[in-house]
């Protein structure tokens, strides 16, 4: 297996669409990296440039220690997986797995040995003689996985391979694919628009929007510390609550809502540090985004807000709009000037729509974004 480096990649399509804009990304040897974003963000174009199916406008692709810009897809030693279940219906599972080797004239006994090895890893020995249509879809997926891994490529490139599966099978395949990647210590670049898939499978996640890389980090990093408002909205189910605020002294005040959040020590300290840091920059024109009156956005995850009854004053008083039991937890919403704030609680909480409640924001977990640049300040 090898590492992959994408350096200053730009892809401009005829007509001028800048699909990929100066993307730098390194996938280390043995890493499972997920490229995540909405449709049209440039993630598939990036992947196709790495595969050699698309020629970039500028920038370099490294696989291992060579630049592969000029190499054809076949010469790059990659396995490209679109969907896992595109099997040849007239071939049995064994022949489907062996197929990529048959084309390369590997000796018969070597092919047999490698098919058995792959079948062992995937635990599909009992079904090797069956044809795809007599297999369950989970088994078909594993056979397709087998066909992808038998060539022992340097890198796996996967483009939404689980999209067409039903929810239960998708969740099983996530687990199997992740386990297989661990076992082979394979380098995987995986493209998806599904944030749950990205969170659950990737060692790191690279989030793209409009051709631009927004953030690269571990699932927990991008979840807890989104670098931009886009990432905050895209990652997490439910997405992060975002509330327009202004800073007045040590208080964040809702711009269009009665929110009043007095900053405790964990929050006030980084703010003070930043304020001190700003005047030391060379330009005298810079006004700190922390200056009073600057438009900010407060970000808080649903689980980082606590609900209490009225006896216990919090940062915001609100009326419960909806209560959604989800079994292992309950999702509440309160209306705040036309938008809904979502709060998760354990399933024992018993507030009803119409109840007056107090919201308490966990000071150590909240984020603040600059409304103008959409970038995270803390």
């Amino acid at each position: 297996m090898a590492e992959v480096r994408i350096e200053r990649l730009v892809k401009i399509f005829p007509g001028g669409l800048r699909a990929v804009d100066e993307v730098n990304l390194k996938i280390t040897d043995g890493e499972f990296l997920v490229l995540l974003g909405p449709s049209g963000c440039g993630k598939t174009t990036t992947l196709r440039c790495v595969a050699g199916l698309e020629r970039q406008t500028s920038g370099d692709i490294w696989i291992g220690d060579r630049i592969v810009n000029a190499l054809s897809p076949g010469e790059r030693d990659i396995a490209f997986v679109f969907q896992f279940y595109a099997l040849y219906p007239h071939l049995n599972a064994y022949e489907n797995i062996a197929f990529p080797l048959r084309a390369t004239k590997v000796p018969r006994d070597e092919i047999d040995r490698r098919v058995k090895e792959v079948a062992d890893i995937l635990r599909i020995h009992p079904i090797l003689r069956k044809r795809p249509r007599s297999l369950g879809s989970g088994e078909q997926q594993r056979v397709a996985l087998g066909r992808a891994i038998i060539r022992r490529p340097q890198v796996f490139l996967m483009d939404e391979p689980l999209t067409n599966l039903d929810a239960a099978l998708r969740s099983d395949m996530r687990v199997e694919l992740k386990h297989l990647q661990q076992e082979l210590a394979a380098t995987v670049l995986y493209v998806t628009h599904d944030q749950t898939e990205a969170m659950s499978m990737g060692h790191r996640i690279a989030i793209m929007n409009l051709g631009v890389l927004q953030q690269v980090g571990t699932p927990l990093e991008v979840y807890q510390n989104p670098a931009t408002l886009f990432v905050a909205r895209f990652i997490g189910n439910p997405p992060m609550n975002l509330i327009p605020v202004r800073r007045v002294g040590d208080v964040l005040e809702g711009t269009d809502s009665p929110l009043r959040l007095v900053l405790g020590s964990p929050m006030a300290d980084p703010i003070k540090q930043r304020q001190r840091a700003v005047p030391s920059t060379s330009s005298g024109q810079v006004s700190s985004p922390w200056a009073g009156g600057h438009e900010l956005v407060l970000g808080a995850r649903a689980e980082d807000i606590r609900l209490t009854g009225c006896g216990n004053p919090g940062d915001l008083t609100a009326i419960v709009a909806t209560r959604e039991p989800l079994g292992d937890e309950t999702l509440y919403s309160v209306a705040l000037n036309g938008r809904l704030i979502l709060i998760t609680t354990d399933p024992t909480a018993r507030f009803k729509p119409g109840d007056k409640v107090e919201l308490h924001f966990d000071r150590s977990r909240i984020r603040v974004f600059d409304a103008a640049t959409e970038k995270a300040l803390i």
Binding site: K178, H179, Y223, S333
Partner: protein, 400 residues
């Protein structure tokens, strides 16, 4: 506004029984969700209520009025489908006004009604736009507006959120629930998504293969499923199912080899009893196990579970059901009941879902995001048996 009563409703298509002797009462102003997998008979049931499909047997009542033989129009229901079927060339205003125009209401009356509905749905600023200029959620609300504008007796909805992306769907769940509360109108809602059912319904009716499995409030369905089907179908991360047998001498449940259920009805997702992972456990490269995993485990059980086990048809064919949040993981061996290995970790931000190999079973465990264990790590597994379920492996009924 009206209650809805289904009485022994049966509908066949050729030899297929789509809906089998279904009885269900929906209170006036109640939000009831009919949930089940594809092909369960949900849509057929809804179409019988709407009058789009005549039942073979049984009756439909709105309040005390038998509407079984009435035409769809005479029933005064509003029906919202997953494809919104808005008129593309008309504005949102005209789309919403359409059912009123057909009734010959005055211009000012129409204006007033459309605006009232648009306000409730928060789309009053979009009234001049055409459907193509709206987002999926806005189109959905416009379609709702058209259904609401003539204040029908009941609202029937067939998977209205299916075509929306997950964030919009989550948002629309809250919206729909708010709208239902505000309109104070009877909602009968069909979906295959258990999250929608739990989150929106005052009560949930679970349907499988045309047969009603259980009716109750969301928390009750989640915590006290009536049978294996409901237990497997409801819950975001599937309940763990462990085939086991009752050992009377030890007062314990012991791991049994997998067996297949006699009943025809397969559980909805993948068969939880299927032996999907055979052979020896596998570990990431470079990790070795200290001892081979044994497939034999046993857990001593409470009086309640024991009594349940003894009431089974065959005490050798039981299924222990335990939800991912009712399993505890710990790195200190010897502390828990059972020993396993981390197979895969799925960090989801607000939680981690661990797949843990326990003998030849893989179980799912929900932990706080702060618990970090590497694949291949050895863990103690403890079941919170006070919250465990026991199913009869033959009848698939809940014992405990």
């Amino acid at each position: 506004m009206s209650s809805i009563t289904l009485q022994n409703l049966t509908k066949r298509f050729g030899t297929t029984v789509a809906v089998n002797d279904l009885s269900l009462h929906i209170e006036d102003r109640e939000f009831v969700v009919l949930v089940g997998p594809t092909g369960a008979g949900k849509t057929t049931t809804l179409r019988c209520v709407a009058g789009l499909e005549p039942p073979d047997k049984g009756s439909v009542f709105f309040g005390s009025q038998n509407v079984t033989k009435m035409s769809p129009a005479a029933r005064d229901v509003a029906f919202v489908f997953q494809n919104y079927a808005l008129y593309p060339r008309k504005t949102v205003f005209e789309n919403i006004a359409f059912p009123l125009r057909a009734r010959g209401l005055s211009v000012s009356e129409i204006q007033a009604r459309v605006e009232r509905v648009a306000h409730k749905l928060h789309i009053h600023h979009l009234l001049d736009r055409r459907p193509a200029q709206l987002s999926g959620g806005e189109q959905q609300r416009a379609a709702l507006g058209r259904a609401m504008v003539r204040t029908p007796r009941v609202f029937l909805m067939d998977e209205p959120l299916t075509n929306l992306d997950f964030q919009l769907r989550a948002q629309m769940r809250s919206e729909l629930k708010r709208i239902q509360q505000e309109l104070n109108i009877t909602f009968f809602y069909v979906t295959n998504d258990q999250v929608e059912a739990l989150s929106m319904g005052d009560r949930i009716a679970v349907l499988n293969q045309g047969v009603l499995q259980q009716v109750g409030p969301p928390q009750e369905i989640y915590e006290k499923p009536a049978n294996l089907f409901v237990a497997a179908f409801i819950g975001s991360t599937r309940m763990n199912f462990l085939p086991c047998a009752y050992d009377a001498d030890a007062g314990a449940l012991v791991r049994a080899n997998s067996f297949s259920c006699n009943k025809a009805s397969p559980p909805p997702r993948r068969d939880p009893l299927a032996e999907r992972r055979r052979g020896s456990p596998r570990f990431p490269a470079g990790l070795t196990t200290e001892a081979p995993l044994t497939d034999l485990w046993s857990v001593r059980v409470s009086d309640e579970l024991r009594a349940g086990a003894q009431s089974a048809k065959d005490t050798g064919k039981l299924i222990l059901g335990i939800r991912p949040e009712d399993v505890q993981l710990s790195v200190e061996t010897g502390m828990g009941d059972l020993e396993g290995w981390v197979y895969v970790v799925e960090p989801l931000g607000d939680r981690n879902i661990y797949d843990v190999q326990l003998g030849s079973d893989l179980i799912k465990v929900k932990t706080p995001p702060t618990l970090i264990l590497k694949p291949g790590a050895r863990v103690s597994v403890r079941f919170n048996l006070a919250r465990a379920h026991l199913f009869d492996g033959i009848t698939e009924r809940t014992l405990v």
